[in-house]
């Protein structure tokens, strides 16, 4: 292991802090995030409500603490799902080549042929808002990217002399794929996963802001911003608090991806340039 860079420590720490506050939200939140109290609506920062209250008098701090839970879990699930699928198709296509590879590449090209957000909005719009449809939309729009990158990596590793050597020693395809090719791209996959979870959080946030993802009154950062559309001009804290939360989460993930890239010394151009 190389020396841990300050960037790595800082981003991992920030991410841990965000995850922990989401995890412990039920214990540390001063109020119920959905408790409405019209007597204290649209208040600024005060000792009773450290981050103020929204248009329905809900406590902003409590809502902010709860606000990342759904989207973080959803982003992890969607990324893991699309990554597993893309990984499988990419590695099979890259390794076996031939008609299988052509079919998989063509399929990936089609799904990448429509800009992700456009397709996501169309899917969520046609099937209606809600978590399962959101998950489907995220999956449909992101598996192809993974598949393409994994395929390129597989093509590269397949030609390495040691794979040739193992094959001549009698190693079967299954063993080569599972024991040698997959472990060899693991660092790429870890970096890719980190950056893609961030991108997924961003997609969920955008869709939720448009009213196509997580729905009000759920305490969610994007929903909070979307709810504040009428009042933010007079009460800017309504969008600054939740926006800052999303920003910090994305910043931590981007920085962590960066630091991991340096740490593992990732060479794959496609992973590098994300």
């Amino acid at each position: 292991m190389r020396h841990r860079s300050p960037k790595l420590v800082f981003s991992a720490g920030l991410l841990a802090l965000i995850l922990l506050s989401g995890l412990l939200a039920p214990l540390i939140a001063p109020y119920d995030p959905n408790a409405i109290d019209m007597n204290v609506k649209l208040q600024g920062f005060s000792p009773a409500h450290p981050l103020g209250t929204d248009a329905l008098g809900r406590d902003m701090l409590s809502r902010a603490l709860y606000g990342g839970r759904t989207s973080i879990l959803l982003a992890l699930a969607a990324t893991a799902l699309s990554m597993a699928f893309g990984l499988l198709l990419g590695i099979l296509g890259g390794y076996f080549g031939g008609p299988l590879d052509m079919a998989i590449t063509a399929l990936a090209n089609i799904f990448q042929g429509i800009p992700g957000t456009c397709l996501m909005v169309a899917i969520a719009g046609i099937l209606g808002p809600g978590i399962p449809n959101l998950l489907l939309a995220l999956f449909v729009t992101s598996w192809a990217g993974f598949s393409r990158i994994v395929r390129t990596e597989t093509l590269r590793i397949r030609e390495e002399p040691y794979i040739e050597g193992l094959r001549s020693l009698g190693a079967g395809s299954g063993r080569l794929l599972w024991r040698h090719i997959l472990p060899n791209m693991m660092t790429n996959i870890i970096v890719l996963f980190t950056t893609r979870v961030g991108r997924c959080v961003l997609s969920i946030a955008s869709l939720s802001y448009l009213g196509l993802g997580i729905r009000p009154p759920a305490p969610d950062w994007s929903v909070m911003i979307s709810d504040a559309r009428l009042d933010y001009r007079s009460a800017p804290h309504l969008i600054i608090v939740p926006g800052l939360c999303i920003f910090l989460l994305l910043f931590a993930l981007n920085l962590l991806g960066d630091a991991l890239r340096d740490h593992f010394d990732v060479r794959s151009r496609e992973v590098k340039e994300l």
Binding site: N109, I114, P115, G116, C118, S206, S222, F251, D258
Partner: protein, 313 residues
């Protein structure tokens, strides 16, 4: 060159076919009966006979492959169907709104290229020093900003507080400043990062070492010698960013009240106007594919290496 283009065009056919299939399947997935949806716009309750008649009229009783072929036939003749909510042809409406979105995207691409490359050059020229660190931090910040939040913050600051720019709507160039800045923010950062890493790679090559040994200034080396070689990956990236911008325009157009195809798609979602959504997916898919072709061709023209080593699929 001609052969390359023909090859490219042929390889696009299955993709275009796939996109049309995807758009068609989206129409099938529509919850509810389309015939009923058409008839029941405006609170009218159709009788079962009317629905059956409409189904026949719309050709919904035919098997899916037949429906698909008929649909493609109509699309090829320029008919994208009729909007449920406005009763206007979807194709006409999309074409009327497309220039707004394209103008927005063009401004954003321009900002991406100019500022992205400028930031990347500055960072590379002062590698490891203060300007580089500041720019690298800026890149990470830009990549972490949700576009809708940035848009709202800019409205708050530049329109509400300072009163420099209009909040929303269309008009002169001033109306395009905030939308295109927001829309280009992320791709500008990506372009800057790419430019920087491509330049640093060039610096490691012999011609750069030789130029430095001759005493050429760093800045001059960047702009005159290294940049022309480093600019190809940045141009290759622009196709991707344009895809992101077409998607991002949905949010930006709705926040800044621009009448482009993005806000049309969002209105279609709200009104459950499925033909409009289908047409939108088809149109953005086709634009994206064509732009990718254009960018690929451009980067090939700029760099013979791409053409010679171009076994990339």
């Amino acid at each position: 060159m001609k052969q390359y283009l023909i090859q490219k065009l042929i390889s696009l056919l299955p993709v275009l076919f796939g996109i049309s299939l995807l758009a068609f399947v989206l129409g099938i997935l529509t919850p509810g009966n389309p015939a009923e949806l058409v008839l029941s716009q405006g609170g009218y309750e159709p009788t079962p006979e009317q629905i059956a008649e409409m189904e026949e009229q719309m050709g919904l009783d035919a098997p899916y492959p037949v429906q698909y072929l008929r649909w493609v036939g109509r699309v090829l003749s320029g008919d994208l169907g009729t909007s449920y909510s406005s009763r206007n042809p979807v194709g006409e409406e999309l074409m009327r709104r497309l220039p707004v979105t394209l103008k927005l995207a063009a401004c954003s691409i321009l900002l991406t290229v100019v500022f992205g490359i400028a930031l990347g050059c500055t960072a590379a020229a002062w590698q490891g020093r203060l300007p580089d660190r500041v720019i690298q931090a800026l890149i990470n910040v830009q990549l972490s900003f949700p576009a809708f939040w940035l848009a709202l913050l800019m409205i708050l600051f530049f329109a509400e507080t300072l009163g420099w720019l209009p909040t929303s709507g269309t008009g002169g160039p001033r109306y395009m400043v905030m939308p295109s800045l927001v829309l280009s923010s992320a791709s500008m950062a990506t372009a800057a990062r790419l430019t920087r890493s491509a330049l640093l790679e060039e610096f490691g090559k012999q011609y750069c070492t030789a130029a430095m040994a001759r005493g050429i200034g760093r800045w001059r080396l960047v702009v005159r010698n290294a940049l022309p070689n480093a600019v190809v990956p940045v141009i290759a990236m622009l196709g991707n960013s344009l895809g992101g911008m077409l998607g991002g325009s949905i949010i930006i157009e709705s926040i800044f009240a621009l009448p482009g195809i993005g806000s049309y798609a969002l209105a279609a979602v709200t009104n459950r106007d499925y033909p409009a959504l289908q047409g939108y997916v088809l149109l953005t898919g086709f634009i994206y594919v064509l732009i990718t072709l254009l960018v690929d061709t451009l980067s090939m023209l700029l760099n013979p290496k791409v053409r010679l080593g171009g076994k990339k699929i």
